[in-house]
């Protein structure tokens, strides 16, 4: 064999062993390589010594190296620890925690995906200025319909105000919108709900506008258009460079100035974009909405969620108005959840005993670590259950925008109360039926004894820990001598029943 081909074969053999070694579990790999390298040296000495041109010998060495793959696979198979199948987890604390954690993750993911929930959370996270009010005609039957005439708004603006220090007006019209493109190019037309609003509206609301252009860029004098987040995502694919785009709105043009954050559309009127104008109420036209900010004197005077405002019309006739605090949409989802949870905690003793049934536990049979494990499990269950209730209630209440905000709040309140109440009941009941030794749920309930007519005979249900540690007696009729459940610790004489289980009797 020529020296060059000899080295090529050596490289091949080395490569084969190296490749096979990657199949070996990491902790055994180094020793495995050492053994096979040592053996290969001896095999080469016997089959293909240096300087001996033997194709047969080289083939034998190659065959030897190929056998390394079978050896490596054998070690890999042997290393596979028996995985705990889901059936073997039946009733264990781990299974319960996994199910609760998966439910929590799913409910949180749904809450993140539903736009209604996102908008609600964002709105309440930002908070609403408590001094902001929506002014409407007291006689208006539907608060969602505009009721303030532009002339009336103009007359307020012109007067000196004691209780208000800022007004903004907006009127929603349906307008066709298309992008302004170079001559010859075509674009799709869409119809949006455009609110022609006072230029101070966003400042008054305290809503930050995102993706704005740097100051001084818009020197064409075009009115600014603020897109709603929904339209920005739907029509512009959430393009962060949308600011500066010139759009044709009906007969005029406007320049996109930014994107309003989610939640700003909680104001009445289905608005897709806000066209900011110096004086939108200058032109006569349909009624609009008025947002006003109370002065401290006004807040002291008008602190209720809604209050009557006496005013005069432009022709000095008396006008009865209603001021509705923008805060009056009620407490946020967090506060509602907290209130419903408190109610559920108060009602809990009425539907179940709050005892954990641990009075019969033998402290000598349950170790300190066992007790800690048991209590940790209880705390973990509650800690997972409460956010599940919160997120599922948000999903149900705010996921469906057709419900309306007030109805959504009721749905959230009722759902949170019911699920917290029955969820906590389940937590306690489940805890009472957990083996004190292995925290596994007892199973195979068996009715024992005869139903007593005299209330003197004992009868109840017995359940067995599948790990073979304990037996749980639960009386059907609590008596003076047997009023609550009791645990019986099984001794080694029960072993024959649990052959094959990993039983450990403390």
């Amino acid at each position: 064999m020529r020296p060059s081909s000899d080295w090529a074969y050596r490289l091949l053999h080395f490569g084969l062993l190296r490749g096979a070694s990657f199949l070996v579990p990491t902790e055994q790999r180094e020793e495995w390589r050492r053994e096979w390298r040592g053996e290969l040296w001896h095999v080469r000495q016997v089959c293909a010594p240096i300087g001996c041109d033997s194709r047969q010998g080289t083939r034998e060495v190659t065959a030897f190296c190929l056998g390394a793959f079978q050896d490596a696979l054998c070690l890999r198979r042997a290393d596979r620890r028996p995985r705990l199948p889901f059936a073997a987890m039946e009733g264990t604390a781990r299974q319960t925690i996994l199910i609760l954690a998966a439910t929590l993750a799913a409910s949180y993911a749904i809450a993140l995906l539903l736009p209604g929930v996102r908008a609600e959370r964002s709105l309440w996270a930002r908070g609403v200025n408590p001094n902001l009010v929506l002014i409407e005609e007291a006689a208006a039957t539907d608060a969602a319909r505009p009721s303030i005439a532009p002339e009336q708004f103009r007359s307020w603006q012109g007067r000196r105000q004691k209780f208000f220090d800022g007004f903004a007006f907006y009127r929603v019209t349906r307008e066709s919108v298309e992008a302004e493109l170079p001559p010859g190019a075509t674009s799709d037309k869409a119809t949006w709900g455009v609110a022609r609003a006072s230029s101070n509206l966003f400042a008054l609301l305290g809503l930050p506008v995102r993706f704005t252009e740097p100051a001084g860029v818009n020197d064409e004098g075009l009115p600014a258009l603020i897109l709603s987040e929904a339209v920005w995502k739907r029509e512009f694919g959430a393009d962060p460079q949308v600011a500066g785009l010139v759009l044709r709105l009906g007969a005029g043009t406007a320049r996109v100035a930014g994107v309003a954050p989610d939640g700003s559309l909680a104001l009445p009127g289905n608005v897709d974009a806000w066209l900011l104008e110096p004086n939108p109420a200058a032109e006569a036209g349909g009624a609009g909405y008025v947002i006003a900010r109370l002065t401290p004197a006004g807040k002291a005077e008008m602190w209720a969620p809604s209050f009557r405002i006496a005013s005069n019309t432009p022709d000095d006739a008396e006008d009865d108005l209603l001021g509705v605090s923008l805060e009056q949409w009620g407490p946020g989802p967090g506060a509602l959840y907290g209130f419903a949870l408190l109610l559920a905690l108060l009602a809990l003793p009425a539907i179940t005993t709050v005892s954990l049934g641990e009075s019969s536990l033998n402290p000598r049979k349950t170790s300190w670590s066992g007790r800690l494990h048991r209590w940790s499990f209880l705390v973990a269950k509650i800690a997972l259950l409460l956010p599940i209730v919160y997120f599922v209630s948000l999903d149900l209440a705010y996921g469906f925008t057709t419900l309306g905000r007030e109805n959504a709040a009721y749905v959230q309140l009722v759902f949170t109360f019911a699920t917290s109440l029955f969820g906590l009941r389940w937590v306690l009941k489940d805890q009472r039926q957990r083996c004190p030794v292995c925290v596994r749920r007892v199973a195979h309930p068996a009715h024992v004894g005869q139903a007593s007519r005299t209330f003197l005979d004992w009868n109840g249900t017995e359940m067995m820990c599948m790990g073979g540690h304990t037996l749980l007696h639960v009386p059907s009729l609590p008596t003076s001598w047997f009023s609550s459940q009791r645990w019986l610790y099984l001794d080694t004489s029960w072993n024959f029943l649990f052959a094959g289980s990993t039983r450990h009797v403390p």
């Binding site: 050492r34 053994e35 390298r37 040592g38 053996e39 040296w41 001896h42 095999v43 000495q45 016997v46 065959a63 030897f64 190296c65 190929l66 056998g67 390394a68 793959f69 079978q70 050896d71 696979l73 054998c74 070690l75 042997a78």
Partner: protein, 110 residues
């Protein structure tokens, strides 16, 4: 948890019995067992892993100094455990030709 050592009555495959017999005959590393039994490396080494797992054989590394003195890499040696010897005895009854195929050192010297 430690695996229970196999009992002497355990029925080994013919391959495993040959490897035990080879070890008992003084062929104490993988390649020498391959040479003695004629089995390929892909059979011998995995079989030895299983025998070691079942505590029928035990392995140890040769001292580095010995290997250095002979200018070669150190080898991993294998030897029978007590359980392995008992199992081999049982296997010899099951495979009577085993001792003739691979005679032990004592038999070879007689």
């Amino acid at each position: 948890m430690a695996r229970e050592p196999k009992l002497a009555e355990t029925k080994l495959s013919h391959t495993a019995a040959m490897i035990l017999q080879a070890l008992d005959a003084g062929f104490v590393y993988g390649f020498s067992i391959m040479e003695m039994t004629g089995l390929p490396s892909g059979t011998v080494y995995p079989a030895m892993r299983r025998l070691e797992r079942d505590e029928l054989i035990r392995s140890h590394w040769e001292k580095q100094a010995i290997a250095d003195a002979e200018q070669r890499p150190p080898r991993k040696y294998y030897k029978l455990t007590a359980a392995g010897k008992a199992t081999l005895q049982a296997s010899r009854r099951r495979y009577p030709l085993l001792e003739r195929l691979i005679p032990t050192e004592e038999a070879r010297t007689v």
